[in-house]
Amino acid sequence: MLRKELVAASAEPLILSLLAKGESYGYAIIQEVKERSGGKLNWTDGMLYPVLHRMENRGLIKARWGESETGRKRKYYSLKKDGKTAMAKHHEQWSLVHSVLAGLKKEQYV
């Protein structure tokens, strides 16, 4: 299991990156993150929605009401232009942290 702080910090870049593939809805976003992390990134399901609303308020993503195949109402989220920019920034920053960490780890084995 990942630390709470790391889970919280990674929520925005993960949501943006998932939405970059196409529009999605809350439940599917949680399921995909869970699947891709092998169950190690476990969000409290309800906590995703305040994050999504915050990102919507900041103009990073937009939402529309739609229906599922079974006729259930769903709120679909998709990426906006500012969201793409924010995603690129996140990727840059996380890659930097990763490369520094990887470099330091490598030095320990030299």
Binding site: T44, Y49, P50, R54, N57, R72, R74
Partner: protein
């Protein structure tokens, strides 16, 4: 006998009692709850177990309320309203300034400005007028033009104060104008387009 609809209605009441009263978040949470109950049901769990597990996964109403409450903060209000962006506000101010210049000048006088000094003035104020409109629409070029012009004006203001020559008078209006130039230079970054300083 377990009644799913009655349990969901109770769960909604708990959420409402905790303060999650906005219809959209509550509706989204309920949709999520139903999807999870359905998924767990397909995995073979009894409806009652599926419901309790799904409700637990959604989280405690109190902690959810705290998270949703953060969305109504002042910084979120600023983020939501684009017109509070530095680019928009400064674009409007500069549009009034440049527009006012041409309005006062009167277009009939334009031919008299076709000498070297006049051409420079028309170029600076003309690009400024276009730049301010572009800036209102959050354009990168608007940002560049307005910032360049603000730098030119700042240099002229400094020259006026230092040598008494530069075209600007030393009065209150000139000081306000000088401050506007400095604010524009500081908020409209160059060369990187970053106009959300106000929002940070």
């Amino acid at each position: 006998m377990f009644d799913l609809e009655a349990s969901i209605a109770d769960w909604r009441k708990q959420m409402l009692a905790a303060g999650i009263q906005a219809p959209v978040p509550l509706e989204e949470l309920e949709i999520h709850l139903r999807e999870e109950v359905e998924r767990q049901g397909k995995l073979g769990l009894h409806e009652s177990e599926a419901f309790h597990s799904a409700a637990q996964k959604i989280g405690q109403p109190e902690s959810l309320k705290i998270e949703f409450k953060r969305n109504g903060s002042f910084s979120d209000f600023l983020l939501k309203h684009r017109y509070l962006k530095a680019s928009f506000v400064l674009g409007l101010i500069w549009l009034v300034y440049y527009g006012g210049y041409f309005w006062n000048l009167g277009f009939a006088h334009l031919p008299y400005l076709f000498n070297l000094q006049g051409s420079v003035l028309i170029f600076v104020f003309g690009t400024g007028l276009i730049g301010s409109v572009l800036l209102i629409f959050d354009s990168k070029w608007g940002c560049k033009i307005i910032r360049t012009n603000a730098l030119i004006f700042t240099a002229m203001c400094v020259m006026t104060y230092a040598t008494g020559f530069g075209g600007f008078s030393s009065n209150f209006g000139a000081l306000v104008f000088f401050a506007l130039c400095l604010v524009s230079i500081l908020l409209l970054h160059w060369p990187k387009h970053n106009n959300s300083v106000i929002l940070k």
